[in-house]
């Protein structure tokens, strides 16, 4: 029996590391890097093939157009140029140009020299490692630009599998990071702004617990307290909404927040802060205070307002990040201000149209660097967004509860 325990704790230590913040972040980054290599390998050759094929379709068409043009000039552009013959010439030229345009768009060859792929003078691969990295990042964050997309059968199958594994991983990581960053932010904010309030509350021991930055909150259901796990019916609709967002892993701390309404569980949780084998404490946020302060909802709101970061601050943080990104990409890519801001917004909201993407000008030698910085911007943006949601959820929950009460959906008496 003795030899089993070191292995026990060894495995647990490994799992603990894996699910700790650094571990998760590293896993996500490694996953993206690996994805870059995988997709590059799967799609690069196909990209060259497509280039050669479309070029071989395009060039005869181009030659034909030149011949037609020369013929028109020869037939109608002779020494005698009457007005009518000149008009006829223009009409015919126009139609030749229109046909040329339609054919060019249909073939889709954009003039790049296929032989020089990857060489310094030639075009950059769209499916370079940096391009694959950007693609991987957009897949697991569900942004999905689509400026490049896998065209091979294997590329598509791998894309699906990559997403099935990557999206939950990303959500888990973001939930993790979001909470940590939110705690740090709240701590700094409380220090800066609420020094007076802080001293008053220090008597309350929960406050101390609340201020401690917690480790992974995904330990929720890891506890053996079944009642907490199965009582997810208590999750308000907004919690489910947040569980869809990048901030929340399926094991949301919302169930924790609401189950805290039962004093028994809160006490057991505080006890469990130290006992949980993986040393993962529950996310202790200010709502814990509601439990022990035996107050009604108005007081709760007041308490929360003293500690939670106001909505405006989080909006400013998000706005600031978008603004910063707009300036960065505007200057680097040469976009105008609105286009950059539009790109940043569409990216961070994970809509991701893909009409405006950094690093996609295939003639720009800096494209690789632009793609990488773009990917980094996306990942950081997701983390910051996650932090902001984490900060906002308290206020939004409180407001939603208030609205619900006003509308009569929820009765005034809180759940025991």
């Amino acid at each position: 029996m003795g030899t089993q325990q070191p292995k026990d704790s060894c495995c647990k230590m490994i799992m603990k590391f894996l699910f700790s913040h650094i571990g998760l972040c590293a896993m996500v980054i490694l996953y993206c890097v690996a994805g870059g290599f995988i997709f590059e390998h799967l799609e690069k050759n196909n990209e060259e093939q497509i280039c050669y094929e479309s070029r071989s379709e395009y060039q005869p068409m181009e030659n034909k157009t030149i011949e037609s043009t020369l013929k028109i000039f020869y037939d109608l552009g002779g020494a005698i140029t009457t007005k009518s013959s000149r008009e006829l010439m223009e009409i015919q030229l126009r139609s030749v140009l229109e046909t040329f345009r339609n054919n060019t768009l249909a073939i889709g060859y954009d003039g790049r020299s296929c032989d020089l792929y990857g060489k310094p003078a030639g075009p950059n691969y769209e499916w370079s490692w940096a391009g694959g990295l950007m693609f991987s990042v957009t897949v697991i964050s569900t942004i999905g630009y689509g400026h490049i997309a896998p065209k091979t059968v294997w590329g598509r199958l791998v894309c699906i599998a990559y997403a099935v594994l990557g999206i939950p991983l990303m959500l888990l990581c973001l939930a993790n990071i979001g909470d940590v960053l939110a705690d740090i932010f709240r701590f700094i904010y409380a220090r800066i702004c609420c020094c007076g309030c802080c001293r008053k509350k220090k008597k309350d021991k929960d406050k101390v617990v609340a201020m401690k930055p917690s480790e992974s909150n995904s330990a929720g259901p890891w506890e053996s307290d079944k009642s907490m796990i199965l009582n997810t019916n208590q999750i308000p609709p907004t919690a489910t909404e947040f569980s869809r967002l990048p901030t929340r892993s399926p094991t949301d701390s919302f169930d924790n927040n609401d189950t805290q309404k039962r004093p028994g569980s809160a006490a057991s949780r505080n006890g469990k802060v130290k006992i949980v084998p993986l040393e993962v404490s529950k996310k202790n946020d200010p709502i814990v205070l509601d439990d022990d302060s035996d107050s009604d909802d108005d007081d709760d709101l007041l308490d929360e307002q003293k500690i939670t970061v106001p909505l405006t601050i989080t909006m400013i943080v998000i706005g600031g990040y978008i603004f910063g990104g707009a300036i960065l990409f505007g200057l680097w890519e040469g976009w105008d201000w609105l286009q950059s801001a539009y790109f940043c917004f569409i990216t961070l909201s994970t809509i991701g149209f893909g009409d405006v993407v950094p690093g996609t000008d295939f003639e720009n030698p800096q494209a690789q660097a632009q793609l990488m910085i773009g990917a980094v911007y996306v990942l950081f943006g997701m983390a910051i967004l996650s932090m902001c949601f984490s900060l906002m959820q308290d206020e939004i929950l409180a407001k939603a509860r208030w609205i619900g009460q006003k509308l009569g959906i929820i009765d005034k008496e809180s759940e025991e």
Binding site: T65, T142, G144, C159, L230, F353
Partner: protein
């Protein structure tokens, strides 16, 4: 909050709230479709057409000029000059292509708006004008949270309905707490079936797609990645085909929300159970093949314990 709903408020109130939310949602989407149809379809429509014609006329002028300059010159240099002009024209074609190709019908606009608020973001249709882009941002800031709340509520109610039906049909799913226990595989099965059905559906109505392409499209859509290389209805000239995508997406996301709801309590708990089980089994396996007789004995003990 939901516990309060269940125990105190009547079911009618919940459904009324959901109905009100859905009406607001539909109204918002339809309004948005109209707005974007106006901004992009009407307000800006003339511009790309004119721009394309301008470019063509400019190229035409250049060619005629070349011809007049080169009237007595050699054929080969003239040919080379014409080629150069054509290449320039190709470049210009490419840059104006995006603005030209878009057809903002009401149907397409509807898909655009839905792809905005669900954050799918296909990109087959994008705003190219400045007011269009500003409108996109403003519209999304309101629309995305609204959609999330809507989907969240739909998911919660559907989950309750699902559990109710499960209890009704299978008596043994009820736990001690009186709650229906829906195992993880059921939720995953529901999602996979929806994907599969969607793939079959789109394969049958879109003749150009293979089954894999159809499945790929459904997956990319429902995960809200939305690459946009495949969009149902984009290839055909018929109107109203985009609406099919809209319905598939909206219902699929509600289903996804329901499954998340069902999975929340179970997911990590089951995963933890599974991992513990797997680690235990691995240890037994490792010990049973170990050369150390003590460990082999322990493997036997631990396998006894599991029973």
């Amino acid at each position: 909050m939901i516990q309060g709903v269940r125990r105190h408020a009547s079911l009618g109130k919940t459904f009324a709230a959901l109905a009100a939310l859905l009406i607001i949602m539909f109204g918002y989407v339809l309004l948005g479709a109209t707005i974007f149809l106006f901004i992009e379809g009407t307000l800006s429509y003339k511009r790309p057409r004119t721009q394309e014609q301008e470019i063509r006329d400019a190229t035409l002028e250049k060619l005629v000029e070349l011809h007049e300059l080169n009237f007595t010159g050699s054929n080969t240099t003239f040919r080379a000059e014409v080629l150069k002009e054509l290449i320039k024209y190709t470049r210009l074609i490419r840059t104006t292509k995006e603005t030209e190709e878009q057809k903002w019908t009401y149907d397409a606009s509807l898909l655009y708006v839905v792809s905005l608020v669900t954050t799918v973001g296909y990109g087959n249709l994008v705003p190219t004008s400045s007011p269009g882009r500003v409108a996109t941002i403003v519209y999304s800031v309101v629309g995305i949270p609204l959609t999330l709340v809507c989907l969240g509520m739909m998911g919660t109610i559907m989950a309750r309905g699902f559990k109710f039906v499960a209890v009704f049909l299978f008596e043994d799913v009820v736990t001690e707490e009186g709650e229906a226990y829906i195992p993880l595989r059921v939720s995953l099965g529901v999602m996979f079936s929806y994907l599969f059905l969607g793939a079959v559906l789109f394969k049958s109505v879109e003749p150009a797609w293979t089954f894999l392409e159809s499945f790929y499209y459904c997956f990319i859509t429902l995960s809200t990645i939305g690459l946009g290389d495949y969009v149902y209805g984009a290839d055909s000239e018929k109107d109203t085909q985009f609406v099919v995508s809209v319905f598939y997406l909206m219902f699929g996301l509600s289903l996804l929300s329901m499954c998340f709801n069902l999975m929340q309590d179970q997911a990590l708990y089951q995963l933890y159970d599974f991992l513990s089980f797997a680690i235990k089994k691995y240890r037994e396996y490792a010990n049973s093949y170990s050369t150390d007789p003590r460990l082999r004995g322990q493997a036997a003990i631990s396998s006894d314990e599991t029973e």
